[in-house]
């Protein structure tokens, strides 16, 4: 699960023209790795890839700050 998300996010980053690869603890949205649209795309990807629905109320820092919390959130669904 983590690898798939990392791969997706790295695609996002490469579109932002950075060579650095992300770590599971990096703050994606707050740290500027993903912009708002990138985060929405990631959520959309997660919904399709893992067959879950992410309601707007769940789009919080606790669930989506980094890849580690995202995988925790997906597993809890």
């Amino acid at each position: 699960m983590e690898e798939k998300i990392v791969a997706f996010v790295n695609d996002q980053i490469s579109s932002n023209q950075t060579d650095e690869k992300i770590e599971a603890q990096d703050d994606l949205l707050g740290g500027g790795i993903l912009d708002s649209l990138g985060m929405m795309r990631l959520i959309s990807f997660i919904e399709t890839e893992f067959g879950i629905k992410v309601p707007p109320e769940d789009m919080t820092i606790e669930n989506f700050i980094n890849i580690e919390t995202i995988t925790g959130y997906i597993s809890s669904k």
């Binding site: 708002s36 929405m40 109320e57």
Partner: protein, 383 residues
Amino acid sequence: MNFSLTDEQQAYKEKVIEFAQNELNTSYTERDRDSVFSREDWEKCAKFGLQGLATPTAYGGSADEVNILTATVAMEGFGYGCKDNGLAFGLNAQMWTVQFPIAQFGTESQKKKFLPKLAAGTWIGCHALTEPNAGSDVYSMETTATKVDGGYILNGSKRYITFAPISDVVLVFVKTNPKLGKWGMSAFLVEKGMEGFTAGLNRPKMGLRTVPFGDLFFEDCFVPDENLLGKEGAGWAITNSSLEHDRCTILAGQLGAMEYQLEETIKFVKDRKQFGQAISQFQSVSNRIANMKLRIETSRLLLYKVAWLKSQGASTMMESALLKLHLSESFVDSSLDAIRNHGGHGYLSENEIERNLRDAVGGVIYAGTSDIQRNIISKLLGL
């Protein structure tokens, strides 16, 4: 693939058109000239149930569950029947960027306190994101909320806010923790009369003049904990969700307006004679009519697609951006074509042709400019 409306949706759309044509179309030319809002029409809309479309019945609304498809079709009918484009715009702004987020993110007591009054038309609400230094780059906002015992202290200002001068409640977005970037943004429900909160006067503008518009100021304004909407940091999720809905329905009214604009233009070009024949016989004139029709049909396809996707709970980032861009730009282009086909008659304010152009221009700016929509589209295409 079936794009037809259900009998129920078609019947409701017709009811909305009839209501708007019979109950609302008075004094709007004078109010457009003088920038005056009609509270009376607002209340009539509420009584008819329009504001209620964005609120569940349990909180004074008109549907068990908010149905975006029905609401979109209703607002298309409203735009067709009601000549006051500002009213359609104001209704949508409150319904999708104030009522809807409260229904979606609010606590039980917030829903009970605000939604019945907003749905009944006794209260008016606005949604305040834009600031002097944060327009398209909205997340660079500078208004802050600092935690204190029992609540927060808000400081800063907002501008270009629809309904700001007359709002009873403001859904305002502020930074609660600037260090957290986009996660550090929160939403508060600030009520008229709260100490430290003031609204500026109505600011004259190019179009949509029948809806008041202006600035909001927060100076050491104390807002109690119970007025925080969603969790601290939920501002990002709230704006994303409500703006996507807003982009869908806010333009439905414009589509309705484009429909009556085409009908009126066709009637005019058939009646008006020059060089011994109806001007509709000149291909330059009829080509503009054909373009107006094409814009309506392509806009409708995009609108219904977004509304349908939203009603299925799907994300519509690409489709909403395409819709917002195409429909708003189409209304501007068609309004210019309507004026061109009417000649001098179209340029005179008293003939009510030029008003649509002035009203249309706001559409390419609010809820993300056309440039921003193009950025979203190209980014989603991997550029």
